[in-house]
């Protein structure tokens, strides 16, 4: 499988007043076409910075980054904008849909800025993208008429509409309840099954468990990069969750997370070094506030 992302010793230094912040201290990462990858790490680990660099929202201070074989380490702002438009689909934690704008119009937005001129019928394309995420019947709904899960699906449709090579999702389930999170993960897994490269940034092990590979960052360096052992299937979990949910309702008064979900750790094959799972989890609670 072809390499879609290749970073080589990428660093990123922010100047905050007098202080220099080394957000990335030499990250080398290779992602192949069709992979589903989760980037994990605590607050300040540099995972968001890495995400911004991979998404061409930010340029690395040093190091090389090639996307689909093209060196994108230092391009002009406009070239970055075009890459974001053509090759990258973003999904955010807070959905970032335009308010008072129908789902269809939201999904159309990237096509607005398409300069290749090959978009003949943006409306049809947007509709197709919404159908792909299972929202073919919600075209005219505005964000406030949609549930959280549906909003995130609209955001995914928007990310997909211009047929990008990678889908970058930054905490895509951060604002969703457990059931909806699993629901959204079915969409990502579906897309991944269809060949889309998906990169998730998350701090939840349960979510990372739906990816095939986990890259863990700490203090701006990769401390772990491994395949997920026993990758979860979102569709099956959803069915299980719904059964459990109805059982809970039958039992009345039972509350809290479904039992099968709690305490479930993330198992990865042959960790290169000892992963401090507990630290990661406590830190990640802070990150949730952002």
């Amino acid at each position: 499988m072809s390499i879609i992302i290749e970073t080589e010793d990428v660093t990123k230094v922010y100047q905050m007043g007098q202080v220099q912040i080394h957000a990335l201290r030499g990250v080398s990462l290779i992602v192949h076409q069709g992979e589903m990858l989760a980037i994990m790490g605590s607050s300040g680990s540099g995972k968001s910075t890495l995400m911004n660099v991979l998404g061409c929202l930010d340029e690395p201070t040093s190091g090389r980054y090639s996307l689909e074989g093209m060196d994108v380490s230092s391009l002009t702002k406009n070239q970055y904008a075009d890459i974001r438009n053509q090759r990258i689909g973003f999904v955010f934690q807070v959905f970032n849909l335009l308010p008072r704008t129908s789902a269809l119009e939201n999904v159309e937005l990237p096509l607005f800025y398409d300069r290749t001129g090959h978009i003949k019928d943006p409306m049809r394309k947007s509709r197709a993208a919404l159908e792909r995420v299972g929202l073919g019947d919600r075209l005219d709904h505005e964000p406030n008429q949609l549930s959280g899960g549906e909003r995130q699906r609209v955001a995914i449709a928007r990310a997909l509409v211009n047929q990008p090579s990678i889908l970058l999702a930054d905490e895509p389930t951060g604002n969703l309840d457990t059931r909806t999170s699993i629901d959204v993960m079915t969409v990502f897994q579906d897309l991944n099954d269809q060949g889309m490269t998906v990169i998730l940034v998350t701090h939840e092990f349960d979510i990372a468990a739906y990816a095939a590979r986990v890259v863990k960052l700490r203090d701006g360096v990769i401390i772990q990069d491994a395949a997920v052992e026993g990758r979860r299937d979102a569709k099956r979990d959803l069915v299980a969750f719904e059964n459990k949910d109805s059982e809970d309702r039958d039992m009345m008064g039972h509350d809290g997370e479904p039992a099968f979900f709690t305490g479930h750790g993330l198992r990865v094959t042959s960790p290169p070094q000892q992963t401090d799972v507990s630290t990661c989890e406590t830190d990640s609670e802070e990150e949730k506030i952002i």
Binding site: N52, G55, L57, D58, K77, N78, A81, D82, I83, R84, N85, Q86, F90, F92, N96, L97, L98, P99, R100, T101, E105, L109, P110, F112, Y113, D114, R158, A159, N162, I290
Partner: protein, 407 residues
């Protein structure tokens, strides 16, 4: 560049999705544009009213007097020489193009007897066009005709004062009178005109055909006291005056070096002065209103600035999904311009409404000129570009990451 269609679509969406904000934003422009138009319209309206009042006094009137005679280097004043004749009137009638009414004025005076009374008054010989030149309507009867002039018919129109003195206010049409022992038939009475600017009673007069006065009352001499003309329009006044001068000089066979043997007067100077005053006033009103348009523009800038801050996240989204800085700039600029132009259109409609109300329910007269409407609309667009640019540039300069995480 995004296609203009997409830009307009984006602007349209943004504007219609925030109706109240859009309305408030363009309110300044609406008020500014309508204020400019209505202020200038009121200025123009007053100017027109004053012009009409002056015209009613006969401001299209051009008066030709016989020239002052010179005896041994001593000027003896205008009218002291009889240099104007009915032939001059005929020449002017034949040649002048900027004149639509012409009448000789042949003055006489004498005792008038009729209705059992007698009265001493002035008898003025004129042409049938005299009444329209002087803008002087009839109270009773009709004006005499060209045929009457040619046949030197003994018909007369009485001024109100004469009619009152002789017939006590009754309609004397058809009655006979004797003017300096010559019998005349009364064919009408002039409407009351009042005093002229010099305080003379304009109604104490009798009008008769110029030829009748000239040949039956004054003993057959061809000289006229003055010639009254009306120019086709107020604007054509100077040209008409020059034309009259040229025609008269050529019919008097004057060498280029010779002075005119007649003099021409008109009331255009008064009109000009009045018009100039009104124009200054219109300009002043317009300038004050233009200030409000600029303030409206600042209002747009103000709200656009707030909008940019408020929509930072939206800008972040747009940048993240591939909008270039220039796209964001043009989008915001387009929004500002569209808002101003919509404000301009609404302002124009409001100005028309206000002018209708003023003209219908108040004595104030508003006259909307197409030029000022276009100018105000254009100005509104310019204000949109100027004041929209700064916020738009601010929006375009945003960093996508910061904008996305803006709370």
């Amino acid at each position: 560049m995004m296609p203009i269609r997409n830009l307009l679509k984006a602007a349209y969406r943004s504007i219609t999705k925030n109706r109240l904000r859009s309305l408030l934003t363009s309110l300044g422009i609406i008020i500014g544009v309508s204020a400019v138009i209505i202020m200038v319209a009121i200025g123009e309206g007053s100017q027109k009213s004053i012009e009409e009042q002056i015209t009613a006094l006969g401001s299209n009137l051009i008066i030709v007097f016989p020239g002052g005679s010179r005896m041994g280097g001593v000027h003896r004043g205008a009218g002291s020489r009889q240099s104007l004749t009915l032939d001059d009137v005929k020449d002017l009638e034949d040649q002048a193009t900027l004149i639509d009414g012409i009448s000789p004025v042949v003055s006489s005076a004498g005792q008038v007897v009729g209705g059992g009374n007698n009265w001493n008054t002035s008898i003025v010989g004129v042409s049938p066009q005299y009444l329209s030149i002087r803008d002087w309507p009839l109270k009773y009867g009709q004006m005499f005709t060209e045929t009457d002039v040619r046949s030197r018919k003994k018909v007369a129109l009485l001024g109100q004062t004469v009619a009152d003195e002789l017939f006590g206010g009754q309609d004397p049409t058809g009655e006979k009178i004797r003017i300096v022992n010559t019998p005349f038939t009364i064919i009408g009475v002039l409407a009351e005109k009042g005093q002229n600017p010099m305080g003379r009673d304009e109604d104490d007069t009798i009008l008769a055909p110029s030829t009748t006065v000239l040949y039956r009352l004054k003993g057959g001499r061809n000289y006229v006291n003055m010639i009254n003309l009306s120019a086709v329009s107020l604007e054509a006044m100077d040209a008409a005056q020059e034309e009259v001068r040229t025609i008269l000089r050529s019919s008097h066979r004057l060498d280029p070096v010779e002075e005119d043997d007649f003099s021409i007067r008109n009331q255009a100077d008064i009109t000009e002065a009045a018009t100039a005053t009104m124009q200054t006033m219109t300009l002043l009103l317009g300038a004050v209103a233009a200030v409000s348009l600029v303030v409206g523009g600042i209002g747009i800038m103000n709200i656009m600035m707030v909008t940019v801050t408020e929509r930072t996240r939206e800008i972040g989204i747009r940048l993240a999904i591939g909008a270039r800085g220039s796209d964001v700039l043009t989008q915001f600029l387009t929004e500002a311009v569209v808002l101003s132009l919509i404000g301009g259109l609404v302002g124009i409609l409001m100005a028309f409404g206000a002018s209708f109300v003023l003209n219908t329910f108040t004595p104030i007269r508003a006259l909307i000129q197409p030029g000022i409407v276009l100018l105000a609309f254009f100005f509104a667009g310019t204000v949109g570009v100027l004041f929209g640019f700064f916020p738009a540039r601010k929006a375009a300069a945003l960093n996508p990451i910061d904008a996305l995480h803006y709370e």
